[in-house]
C-alpha cells in the first residue's frame, strides 16, 4: 500500500520537521561543548592524568622502589611490617602493587608535589586513593608517572579496585599526609 509516490520512499529524502531540527542543533552544540571541555581542562584544570609512562620489568621497578625505601624509611606502619617512607618534596616516589599489597606506605607533605611512580609486579591492580577519590589503573610491565599534590592532611587508604584474585579485598595500602 503505497502512501507516497515512489521517489519519496527513500528515507534520506524525507523532510525534516522543525522540532527535530531544533533538538538536533541543541544536541550538536552540547556535544561540541562536552568535547572541548575535556581539551580546555588540560590547560585550566588541576586534575589531569599524566601522559608519562614507560615500559619496565617488574624486577627493575621493585629494585628502584627498594632503593627509595632504604633511603627514606622513617618507621614501620603499625604491626603490618610495611615500611613508611618520607621522601623529600619534588622527589621520585615509588609505590608497587602486588597480590595483595601496596608497598610501601608513604608519608607526604600537604601542598608539596611528588612524582609518583606506579607499577604492578604481577596482575593488574586498581590504585583507588580514598576518600579523596582518585582511581588509576596499574599494569604489570608499565610504569605510570604522575605528579600528585596532596591538598589536605590525614590518613588516606589505597584500595585495590581491580579484581586481582581471592585476596583482592585484603589489598589495602596507605598514604599519610602531614603539614
Amino acid at each position: 500500500m503505497a502512501i507516497f509516490p515512489p521517489e519519496d520512499r527513500l528515507w534520506w529524502k524525507q523532510p525534516l520537521h522543525w522540532q527535530e531540527l531544533t533538538w538536533l542543533a541543541v544536541c550538536l552544540v552540547w556535544a561540541l561543548t562536552m568535547f572541548f571541555t575535556m581539551i580546555v581542562w588540560h590547560s585550566i584544570g588541576d586534575q589531569n592524568l599524566s601522559n608519562e609512562a614507560y615500559q619496565i620489568s617488574p624486577d627493575k621497578f621493585a629494585e628502584r622502589t627498594e632503593a627509595m625505601v632504604e633511603k627514606y624509611q622513617v618507621r614501620e606502619e603499625g604491626d603490618s611490617g610495611i615500611p613508611v617512607v618520607r621522601p623529600p618534596a619534588e622527589s621520585e616516589v615509588y609505590m608497587l602493587a602486588r597480590t595483595y599489597q601496596w608497598w610501601p606506605v608513604l608519608e607526604l607533605e600537604k601542598g608539596k608535589s611528588y612524582r609518583l611512580h606506579l607499577s604492578s609486579m604481577d596482575l593488574q591492580h586498581g590504585f583507588s586513593l580514598q576518600p579523596t577519590n582518585i582511581n588509576v589503573q596499574v599494569h604489570p610491565g608499565y610504569e605510570l608517572v604522575m605528579t600528585v599534590t596532596p591538598n589536605e592532611t590525614g590518613e588516606f587508604g589505597v584500595i585495590c579496585n581491580e579484581f586481582c584474585g581471592i585476596g583482592h579485598h585484603t589489598m589495602v595500602g596507605r598514604i599519610h599526609v602531614v603539614e
Partner: protein, 572 residues
C-alpha cells in the same frame, strides 16, 4: 527454487497482525527466546546473590563464591541472555517484518547449537572454580582454556545468526517482499547486526590468542593491548544492545499504537551514527591507563565529538515523539500530557517500553557520558559507579525493553495467551523500580569511592593483616538500599520468568478470533511496524517538554561532576 505451494505451506498468516509468518523462522525465534529467558533466570539469581553479599549486614556468600558467582552473573546476563534474545529479534525483524522466508533455517539451528554449547561450556568452566576471572578476564589473570572456548563458540554462533539476518535481507529485496526502504525496526536491527560483526571479530581477535596463551602455546599477552581489543568487543556489544532495544521501542510503539517515526530520515540517521562513530568505544575503559595519550582518549571516548551520543539523544526525542504523535492522531489531544496520561499503562509491553526509555535516558545515558569524560573518569573508574551506570543501560534499558516485547512475542509467535495478566501488568513496574534503585544506589556508593567487584566493604580481613580503611557511613546506607532494590528487581525478574514460562508451556492457546475478543495489537499496528513512512504534520508540546527536562538534568549533572573533580588532589 521450491514451487510456490511448498513455499506457502511454510507460512501461516498471523490473525493478529495480518503478517505472513515463516514457520521455520518462528521455530528459531521460539528456541532462542526460550533459552534467553533460561539464562536470564540463572544470571538473575546470581545477580541477587552478588547484591546480597555486598549488603554489609547480610554478606551472603563467602569470598571465593562471591567472585565466582559474579563472574557467572556477568556472562549469563550480559552475554547469554541478551544475545540469545537479540538473535530472536534479528530473525523477527527480518523474516517476519519483511514478510519473507528466513535464509538457511538449518544453519540457524547450527548457530543455535553453537551458542548453547558455548554458553554451557563457559558456565561449567566458571563453576569448576578455576576460571574466576570476572567477565572481563583481564590478562595476565588466567582462566582455563574452555572458559575462553565457550565464549568463542557462543560468538561464532551469534556471528552465523547475523549473516542469516543479512541473507534474509538479500532474499527479501530479491523477491520484492517490500517496497522502497526497509521498515525502521528492521533498519535498527540491521544496525545492531552490523555492529555485532565488528564486535564479534574483535572478540575473536583477542580471545583466540588468549585461549592459546592459557593453554601455554603463546608466551605473553600485553595487558593494555588486551584491553583495547577486548573492549572493542565489550563496549561495542553494548551498542548492539542499544540499537536492538531502540528498534524494540519503535516496534512496540508501532504495534500497540500504530506509531510511525516522526521522520524516517532523522531516526535512521541516528542509527547510522551508531555504526559510524563507535568503533573505538573501548576508549571508555582506558581513560586511566598508562601509556595511552590524552589526544587518543579524548577523541575516542567522545566517539568522535560525541556523535554517537547525539544519535541516542535523537532517539530520545523521536521515540516519545512518535508515541505522542500517534496518540494525538488517535484523539488524545488534551493539553501537554493528555496523550501520556491516556497511554496504555496497563499493557505490560507499553509500560516496559516507556519506562525503559526513561530509565535508559535519565539514568544510563547521562551517567555514561559523564563517566566517559576523560578527566571525570578519574573519580569514577572501577568504583561502583560503573556497574551503577550499566545496570541502568543494560538492565533498566535493554532487559526491560526485551521483557516488554516478550509480552507481544508470546501471543503472536508462540500463539499462547499471557498467564496471570494482572501480575503481568505490575511486573515491568516492579522490575523497573528495583533496577532503577540498584543503579542509583550503586552510583551513589561509587561517588563515595566504594570499589566494584569487592567482597569486603568493611575491610575486616585487611585490618587483620595490618592496614585497614573505612568508607563513609553513607556508603553503607547506599549499599543496603542497593540490596533492598536488588530484592525488588529479583522479584520483578522472577515474576517475568514465571509468567513467561507458565504462558509458553502451560498457557491457553491463543484462538484465531482472539484478535477481536482480546486484541493485543493496536489498529494499524501490523501495517505500521512492517512498512515504511513518517508521521505527517507534528504537534509535540509534551515531548518537547520532556526533552527539555532531560537536557536540564544532563547539563546540571555534567557540571556538578566537574565541581567534584576540581576538589580532589591536583594531578598532572
Amino acid at each position: 527454487m521450491a514451487d510456490s505451494t511448498a513455499v506457502s505451506a511454510n507460512f501461516r498468516t498471523c490473525p493478529d497482525t495480518g503478517l505472513p509468518v515463516h514457520l521455520p523462522a518462528q521455530n528459531l525465534i521460539k528456541a532462542n527466546a526460550v533459552f534467553a529467558v533460561v539464562f536470564l533466570l540463572i544470571g538473575g539469581i546470581q545477580g541477587l546473590m552478588v547484591a546480597l553479599t555486598r549488603w554489609p549486614a547480610v554478606q551472603l556468600l563467602p569470598d571465593d563464591w562471591f567472585y565466582l558467582v559474579l563472574t557467572g552473573h556477568g556472562l549469563n546476563v550480559l552475554l547469554f541472555w541478551i544475545i540469545f534474545f537479540e538473535v530472536a529479534v534479528l530473525y523477527f525483524a527480518s523474516a517476519i517484518l519483511l514478510k519473507c522466508r528466513l535464509a538457511t533455517p538449518k544453519l540457524g539451528w547450527v548457530a543455535f547449537a553453537l551458542m548453547l554449547v558455548g554458553a554451557i561450556l563457559a558456565n561449567i568452566a566458571v563453576m569448576q572454580g578455576d576460571s574466576t576471572v570476572m567477565f572481563t578476564s583481564y590478562v595476565p589473570m588466567r582462566a582455563e582454556p574452555h572458559f575462553y572456548l565457550g565464549i568463542i563458540l557462543f560468538a561464532v554462533g551469534a556471528l552465523i545468526a547475523c549473516f542469516i539476518f543479512f541473507g534474509t535481507l538479500v532474499i527479501a529485496k530479491d523477491e520484492k517482499t517490500y517496497e522502497g526502504s526497509i521498515p525502521l525496526v528492521t533498519f535498527g536491527a540491521m544496525t545492531a547486526a552490523i555492529i555485532a560483526v565488528f564486535t564479534i571479530a574483535s572478540g575473536a581477535i583477542i580471545l583466540i590468542p588468549t585461549m592459546l596463551w592459557s593453554m601455554g602455546l603463546i608466551g605473553d599477552i600485553d595487558p593494555i593491548m588486551y584491553k583495547v581489543i577486548w573492549w572493542a568487543m565489550g563496549h561495542s556489544s553494548q551498542q548492539i544492545n542499544v540499537s536492538a532495544h531502540v528498534a524494540v521501542w519503535y516496534c512496540i510503539a508501532a504495534m500497540l499504537l500504530g506509531a510511525k517515526p516522526l521522520s524516517e530520515k532523522v531516526s535512521r540517521l541516528a542509527f547510522l551514527m551508531y555504526i559510524l562513530f563507535l568503533q573505538l568505544a573501548s576508549a571508555h575503559h582506558l581513560l586511566v591507563e598508562p601509556g595511552i595519550s590524552s589526544e587518543w582518549k579524548i577523541f575516542n571516548t567522545s566517539y568522535a565529538l560525541y556523535l554517537a551520543v547525539v544519535g541516542s539523544m535523537i532517539h530520545g526525542l523521536s521515540v516519545p515523539g512518535a508515541v505522542e504523535a500517534a496518540q494525538r492522531r488517535r484523539g488524545f489531544t488534551q493539553g501537554y500530557f493528555g496523550w501520556l496520561r491516556k497511554a496504555p499503562w496497563g499493557n505490560p509491553a507499553f509500560a516496559a517500553m516507556f519506562t525503559s526509555l526513561v530509565y535508559f535516558g535519565f539514568l544510563g545515558g547521562i551517567s555514561g557520558v559523564v563517566m566517559g569524560t576523560e578527566q571525570l573518569n578519574l573519580i569514577m573508574h572501577n568504583t561502583l559507579y560503573v556497574p551503577g551506570h550499566f545496570h541502568a543501560t543494560v538492565v533498566a534499558g535493554t532487559t526491560l525493553a526485551f521483557m516488554g516485547i516478550t509480552y507481544l512475542v508470546v501471543p503472536l509467535i508462540f500463539r499462547k495467551e499471557i498467564r496471570f495478566p494482572t501480575l503481568a501488568k505490575w511486573q515491568p513496574y516492579l522490575f523497573g523500580v528495583g533496577v532503577a534503585g540498584i543503579s542509583v544506589f550503586m552510583m551513589g556508593a561509587g561517588t563515595l569511592g566504594v570499589s566494584r567487584r569487592h567482597w569486603d566493604s568493611y575491610f575486616t580481613d585487611a585490618a587483620e593483616m595490618g592496614l585497614s580503611f573505612s568508607y563513609p557511613d553513607t556508603a553503607f546506607l547506599m549499599m543496603s538500599l542497593n540490596g533492598l532494590s536488588a530484592i525488588l528487581a529479583a522479584l520483578g525478574g522472577g515474576l517475568f520468568c514465571v509468567i513467561i514460562v507458565a504462558s509458553v508451556f502451560f498457557g491457553k492457546k491463543r484462538e484465531d478470533n482472539a484478535a477481536e475478543t482480546n486484541p493485543i495489537i493496536g489498529i494499524g499496528g501490523g501495517e505500521a511496524v512492517s512498512s515504511y513512512g513518517s508521521e505527517g504534520t507534528l504537534k509535540l508540546p509534551g515531548t518537547m517538554t520532556l526533552v527539555a527536562i532531560f537536557f536540564t538534568a544532563f547539563f546540571l549533572y555534567y557540571w556538578v561532576n566537574w565541581k567534584y573533580l576540581s576538589e580532589v588532589w591536583p594531578l598532572s
